[in-house]
């Protein structure tokens, strides 16, 4: 066996070169990135989107399971009395996995971690019974911070209390919507990253270092063939426009090359009537060829349809 006898020095230099390169590209950046504190955006985003949005064992077929609900709360869940000011709460129904910031408060950053654990009691949140979270303001060592509060522990609001007082239009399925965003590959054309150099005017402010703590996958996208969506909800908050655009983008933008996502409506519309896709398409073809004057109406989507969650996610991108 000839072996590597005569390559002793070479193997050692290889170990040194490759190891050194791994140290610079893996070890040093991880130390640096781990010290980045969460911004308010990161706190809100991870609470709204939940644990993991790519493939995971809790949702192996990527149907949007194991996701929280975001509720614009207008009444006190215990008393039913209207709140002085509406608040946003994040409802993790029993069995829903908590986001990384709840499981590992270390990633929240200095100050936020201590406040969330000591005043927010996030350590007491239980997956089996579910929890209701909100973002609160507090002071730690003289500095103002936002932190995560477990309202189930601090106020005794259970998930069913909150969902009882919430109307359907106040509930956002944006967590499930992000699963649709990843599964349907929206990010192959739409980036979620206004660039630091050029996009201020059109697509809004680029994100900050701490905007992503707790999010996975970040789905920045790299090949932009369509507008950036990071702040799309601020530019266009019309549900009706979104609905027509997803069903057939060429209804609202004749030059669009986006695929149709009518299949996300499912079998039935909002009234439970089966949707006749074949008829819709032939009516639309007549319209496109000038045989009829108006385009067929887009069916309204069911409350639990996949498209509802995707539109909720779009509108949540402020």
């Amino acid at each position: 066996m000839a072996g590597f006898r005569e390559y002793k020095i070479g193997s050692r230099i290889f170990a040194l070169a490759f190891g050194g390169s791994m140290c610079i590209t893996l070890l040093l950046p991880s130390i640096n990135i781990a010290s980045v504190s969460s911004t308010d955006v990161a706190l809100a985003k991870q609470l709204a989107i939940g644990h993991e949005t790519g493939f995971n064992l809790d949702d192996p077929l990527m149907q949007g399971k194991n996701k929280p609900l975001v509720v614009a709360l207008k009444a006190d869940p215990k008393t039913g009395q209207p709140l002085a000011q509406a608040m946003t709460v994040y409802v993790y129904q029993p069995g829903t996995s908590f986001p990384a910031g709840i499981l590992h408060p270390r990633i929240l950053g200095a100050g936020i971690e201590e406040l969330s654990v000591q005043q927010g009691h996030i350590g007491d949140a239980k997956k089996d019974t579910g929890a209701v979270f909100a973002i609160s303001k507090g002071k730690f060592e003289g500095k103002d911070h936002s932190f995560i509060e477990d309202l189930t522990t601090s106020k005794g609001w259970t998930t069913s209390d909150v969902l009882k007082v919430a109307k359907d239009e106040d509930v956002s399925h944006s967590g499930k919507g992000k699963t649709m965003f990843v599964r349907e590959g929206c990010w192959w054309c739409h980036t979620l990253l206004p660039e630091q150099t050029q996009d201020w005017q059109v697509f809004g402010a680029p994100p900050m270092l701490g905007d992503f703590n707790g999010e996975s996958p970040t789905a920045f996208g790299s090949d932009r063939k369509a507008p950036d969506l990071m702040h799309v909800g601020s530019r266009n908050s019309s549900k009706e426009w979104m609905m027509m655009h997803f069903f057939n983008p060429r209804l609202v933008q004749p030059h669009s090359i986006m695929p149709r996502f009518d299949y996300l409506w499912g079998e039935k519309d909002a009234d439970g009537t089966p949707i006749n896709f074949a008829k819709w398409r032939s009516d639309y073809d007549d319209y496109r060829e000038g045989k009829s004057v108006s385009a067929p109406d887009v069916p309204s989507y069911a409350k639990d349809s996949e498209i509802r969650s995707l539109i909720d996610f779009m509108l949540s991108l402020k």
Binding site: M1, I33, V182, F212
Partner: protein
């Protein structure tokens, strides 16, 4: 092939694993480019097969990318390793049986992974799209057996030294395992935030820089001296190439995220290291070009040399783009545009594919001892690849510059889409030419195996004239 899976290792004819890998890679190339052509048609004609979850663009784009990287390119690499590594060690492949099982597991795992991706089940991370169980499968049943076979073949060689090609092979099969395990760690351990984003591009960069680029170059270090009969111009320049790949190509991962919020020192460091990629690139191209001295007529007359040298020549614009487009001065203009798509195809369909194409042409003829069935078909294949790729590259580069201009002049995005439309049609035509060329190649290699003229022992296939 299948009858040898359970045979004793010594009863399996030498080269069986390489033949299995070779034909598998061609078939994946046909599938991968077919999907690419289909996807391009959707971008050019948005109402072509739409509103169907099973043929949605967002489900199929990644299937095209993974099929060509882990089907065509990586299996062509494995094919090259199965016959070049023992040839350079004057020995036999350590285990033909392991090689055959490796190829079988590879085909099964890749088919499974692509099916899952096609269904939309993805990690949501570009280039590491496979869900983590598939990543683990690929590491354990694909790359570790491949590395074992290559390493053991080099260890049991009968020559004193190790030739340049084999340094690259043994280093790359080791590094790709590390890249696979570390690059997918956000999925294994649920790492989140910027760590996840950075490691996504760490994987994407290194799978190109430490696997695809060095192995493709290593193949040229074998095919050019072997077919021309000239010795490699300089062993020393080979050293420079090897060490600068390990040091410079493994560090610039962050330059893929130049416009993202990463620590500034990391981006600056990556950008400087990224320019240094020119060191291995220039070393490699000059070494191969100088090896050709006195044999340039073969660039015209010999199909393997034509493929290899075309690939090497494409490494020049590739690395000029790659070295400079990632600097802040240029990156702001072309980041996230079709320019990058054109550059990625210059790397994978231009540079790398032409080098591997030569290895598969040469390897299948040498192992099967059959002369190529039809040189005309091979020429047609070459020109369809080259013209198809050129149409693709030129149209996407122009589209990228349009997008860049639209970005800085804040043009409404729909006007960019309208301006790009002709180039989207051109891209589809280019991709379709490549796809059709590959079908001809598959037919040509199949007929070579069936009816190709027998090559006598000790002769190169290209030394024989056609009898038909």
């Amino acid at each position: 092939m299948f009858k040898y899976l359970l045979a004793k290792n010594e009863d399996i004819p030498a080269g069986s694993a390489a033949v299995f890998f070779g034909f598998s890679s061609i078939i994946w190339f046909v599938i991968g480019t077919g999907l690419g052509s289909f996807n391009a048609a959707k971008l050019a004609f948005p109402d072509f097969v739409t509103g169907n979850i099973y043929f949605a663009f967002g489900h199929m784009r990644q299937v095209h990318v993974m099929a060509v990287i882990f089907g065509w390119i990586s299996m062509a690499f494995a094919m090259a390793m199965m016959y070049i590594t023992p040839a350079l060690g004057n020995s036999k492949l350590w285990s033909e049986k392991l090689g055959l099982w490796n190829c079988l597991f590879w085909n099964v795992g890749l088919a499974l992974g692509l099916t899952v991706l096609w269904a939309g089940i993805t990690s949501g991370r570009e280039y590491s799209d496979f869900p983590w169980p598939i990543d683990l499968y690929l590491a354990v049943f694909v790359f570790i057996p491949l590395a074992t076979n290559v390493w053991m073949t080099v260890l049991t060689r009968k020559t004193q030294g190790i030739y340049t090609t084999n340094w690259f092979f043994i280093a790359a099969v080791f590094m790709v395992i590390i890249v696979f395990l570390v690059g997918n760690s956000p999925e294994f351990f649920h790492l989140t935030g910027l760590t996840e984003a950075y490691l996504t591009w760490w994987f994407a960069h290194n799978v190109l820089g430490l696997w695809i680029t060095p192995v493709a170059a290593a193949i040229a270090y074998y095919t050019v001296p072997k077919v021309t009969g000239n010795p490699l111009y300089s062993h020393r320049i080979g050293h420079l190439h090897f060490w600068s790949v390990v040091v410079f190509y493994s560090t610039p991962a962050a330059h893929h995220l130049m416009s993202a919020p990463l620590p500034e020192w990391l981006k600056s460091f990556a950008s400087v290291e990224g320019v240094l990629i020119l060191v291995p690139a220039i070393a490699f191209v000059s070494n191969i070009m100088l090896t050709m001295r006195g044999k340039w007529y073969m660039f015209v007359e010999n199909i393997e040399i034509r493929f290899t040298i075309t690939g090497c020549l494409m490494a020049i614009p590739l690395n000029m783009q790659g070295g400079f487009q990632q600097t802040r001065a240029i990156n702001w203009y072309i980041h996230g545009t079709g320019w990058i798509v054109a550059h990625a195809h210059l790397a994978l369909l231009g540079f790398s594919t032409f080098l591997e194409g030569a290895a598969v042409y040469l390897g299948l003829q040498t192992i099967m001892r059959r002369k190529l069935y039809s040189l005309t078909l091979a020429n047609l294949h070459f020109w369809m690849l080259l013209i198809g790729f050129t149409i693709y590259w030129v149209s996407m580069t122009i589209a990228g510059l349009i997008q860049g201009a639209g970005k800085i002049y804040e043009v409404p995005y729909i006007d960019v889409v309208i301006a790009e439309h002709p180039y989207m049609i051109a891209r589809w035509i280019g991709g379709t030419l490549v796809f059709v060329g590959n079908i001809l190649w598959l037919y040509n290699m199949w007929m070579t195996a069936r009816v190709g003229t027998v090559v006598p022992a000790g002769r190169m296939p290209h030394e024989l004239s056609y009898e038909r």
